[in-house]
Amino acid sequence: MIPDFKQAIPVDQIGVEERVARFRTRSIKKESKLFALKLALQMVDLTTLEGMDSPGKVRQLCDKAMYPYEADPDIPKVAAICVYPNRVRLAAGVLKGSGIHVASVATSFPSGMGTLESRIDEVKYAVDEGADEIDMVISRWAFLKGEYDYVFDEIAAIKEACGPAHLKVILETGELETYENVRKASDIAIYAGADFIKTSTGKISPAATMPVTLVMLYAIRDYYLKTGSKIGMKPAGGIRDAKTALHYLVMVKETLGADWLTPDLFRFGASSLANDLLMQIIKQKTGHYQSPDYFSIG
């Protein structure tokens, strides 16, 4: 049954932030650290979303996704690369057979201010080009105006246009301001058919934060408790270092449990995070930090 989205689910800002502060006090050491670092690397959606993304740049990113650190065969691949629709064909070709997903932003990313028809067409184009994951944006203007049915219907329409591709719904939490709005937008996206909910485009500050992500994880948990269906979570933007990534994993583990500790249900939308994870993995294995110059840029 679809809930009445006009009814806000109360969220206490101070309580959420205190809970997050407590996740941050977890101390992750030794083998449990190495395990988590490798897991985090497998969860990265390696991303480039710039107007200057040439085919050459995207090819470099794909190579980095397949061979994060070729010197050590024990290092896993990342989950996906994330690009604009006009680079999907190239990426899908390079990554063919690698098991790495090709995610495309679509739906007039990042603002979402196109017509619904053009946004749906863009999704179909990206899927036809070879994307198996679509990262859409919601119409924040409609959400903030209280037109929750509009937002629900656009997500449902885009989900239909995705066909077999997985749909990640970007809430752009930096524009929603309150945690109660984040919770409400999460519920709308989940009930309208999202496979993943995602915090941010990376084009608006603040992007992903731990408190915002926690509120979204609570929405996912409530949906799971009600229906038994598992929705994925993708914080994106602003997660640059391994330590922060481990704090996110602690939060996922202690909120949703081990079932969500998989790239099928949790991703990091990030670009520079991968190399910090690599650096920490090598440090954990060898006991020494290496210069950033030993890690290829994507």
């Binding site: 309580g15 006090t25 977890r26 101390s27 050491k29 083998e31 449990s32 650290k33 799971y224």
Partner: protein
């Protein structure tokens, strides 16, 4: 959530796949003497009877140190030293100079915070996360706060001439040994009194270390004196004719005898005693945050907290969802080595306390109560009790009426705000209470209805030196903290 949804709900798996490796704080740099003497007149002195008792680590039952057992003559010596320091130095010293000494104690504690936190966890069994992030920071905050009042007492009580009382006798419990000592020493010194203080016999070490720090800070001899020993010494303090004021924190039972002794010997007194606080959750509350508040309310310091939220009152419509989420949250609490930075639940403070808690649970089972405990493994040595819920209880049950002082939460439901308030007040205690609702007006209405000294709204167990703390009814007399906390140490004349 509907009943059907609840039966269909899935369980989450928190333990699998990724367990955190141990991350213990090292106790290596914490110096614990093999034996501690009494701190009297600025020096550590052997007890007259030459006897010592042992203090152990309740998490593994290993010996930490041997501590002097004071007798009556030692106490006389301590009181005489305190009187001499009061008459000769402390009451005559300009107030701003007094303040400087208290600031110095605060700064030295700040520098050695980690050492004090580790020792507190070793002696009490409380998790390092709490001693590091709660106990010691608030200890320091209290000394800083009251240091500031030392030369401003005339402004705290304008138009009157506040004067110190003389020698204050202070008796400290085992649940927050250093914190309760700070709550008492800081205002006593700031107001110009001298101190004879006795820690609980199971947890004397951080206060003795504070004695070393006070000595090193150059406080005039005799201003603070520490006597260690069994309960009789506490009783002797309460009865001592040379002591002008008693400050006691501990059980209501002992509090009564302290009160009698204080009245008989004409002392001023403050008592911080037991509690059986209601934590009231309405159906419009933020559920996830309420769960967190309930956990902090009852499992903080293994429930060894006089203001613990030990009675959960939850509105019927949200009860099933809240209790289910509370149980999920409890599965993520890590019980074990108090020095591990990831430990949420440490050891029970003593064998005696553990037996008392288990007694309540055994009785509960016999009277047909549903007891729910988390699945965590308990260490072999030491004293342990997993986080525990007692469901389907009512006011008639002993476990609802009496203070268990352990990680045990009773759960009752209610229908209306009036019912919640009457359940909350149906106890001999009145120390604290919690209200969880998204509606501000309800916070004020229900908060006013609860007869307790401290009410938290949408949070629990928050402490600040500027805020007065104390109870109604059998939870005590007088207030500690804030401007109110100065009053019990002052004679106010027009």
């Amino acid at each position: 959530m509907s009943e059907k949804e609840l039966t269909a709900r899935q369980n989450l798996h928190f333990d699998e796949l990724w367990a955190y490796d141990p991350a213990p704080e090292s106790p290596d740099h914490v110096k614990i003497e093999e034996q501690y003497n009494l701190f009297i007149d600025g020096k550590f002195q052997e007890p007259a009877g030459g006897r010592y008792f042992e203090t152990i680590n309740p998490a593994n039952e290993t010996l930490l140190s041997r501590v002097a057992r004071a007798d009556r003559s030692d106490l006389d010596k301590a009181v005489a030293a305190a009187r001499k320091a009061y008459d000769g130095v402390w009451s005559k010293m300009p107030a701003k100079e007094r303040g400087k000494y208290i600031y110095r104690i605060a700064r030295l504690l700040q520098e050695r915070a980690r050492e004090f936190a580790i020792l507190e966890s070793m002696d009490t069994g409380k998790p390092i996360r709490e001693s590091r992030d709660v106990d010691i920071p608030i200890v320091i905050a209290h000394f800083f706060y009251y240091a500031g009042w030392a030369d401003k007492l005339k402004y705290a009580f304008p138009g009157v001439d506040p004067r110190p009382l003389g020698v204050a006798g202070q008796i400290i419990p085992w649940n927050f040994p250093l914190l309760m000592a700070a709550w008492k020493i800081a205002p006593a010194l700031a107001t110009g009194n001298t101190v004879v203080i006795k820690p609980a016999s199971s947890t004397p070490l951080t206060l003795l270390k504070l004695g070393e720090l006070i000595r090193d800070a150059g406080l005039p001899a005799g201003v603070v004196n520490i006597v260690t020993g069994p309960g009789e010494i506490g009783s002797a303090i309460a009865n001592h004719p040379g002591i002008d004021k008693i400050a006691f924190t501990g059980s209501t039972e002992i509090g009564r005898t302290i009160q009698e002794a204080s009245l008989r010997t004409g002392k001023k007194y403050t008592l911080e005693l037991g509690g059986k606080a209601a934590n009231i959750v309405f159906d419009d509350a933020p559920v996830e945050e309420a769960v967190e508040g309930i956990v902090n309310g009852i499992f903080f310091n293994q429930g060894h907290v006089c203001c613990a939220g030990s009675r959960l009152l939850v509105q019927e419509g949200v009860a099933d969802e809240l209790v289910h989420k509370l149980k999920m949250r409890m599965e993520t609490l890590i019980l074990g080595d108090p020095l591990d930075k990831n430990t949420d639940i440490g050891a029970i403070n003593s064998k005696g306390q553990l037996d008392s808690i288990l007694g309540y649970l055994t009785d509960g089972v016999e009277s047909g109560l549903q007891i729910y405990q988390t699945k965590c493994d308990l260490p072999e040595n030491g004293f342990w009790c997993p986080p525990t819920l007692v469901e389907n209880v009512s006011q008639a049950h002993r476990i609802v009426q009496e203070e268990v002082f352990g990680p045990v939460l009773t759960i009752q439901t209610f229908r209306t705000p009036e019912e919640a308030v009457s359940l909350a007040n149906n106890t001999p205690y009145g120390l604290s209470g919690g209200v969880w609702t998204d509606k501000g007006s309800k916070i004020f209405k229900v908060g006013k209805g609860i007869r307790a000294g401290v009410i938290w709204a949408n949070t629990f167990n928050k402490f600040d030196p500027t805020s007065p703390f104390g109870g109604y009814k059998e939870s005590g007399m007088g207030r500690e903290g804030g401007i109110h906390g100065l009053l019990p140490y002052l004679e106010i004349s027009q």
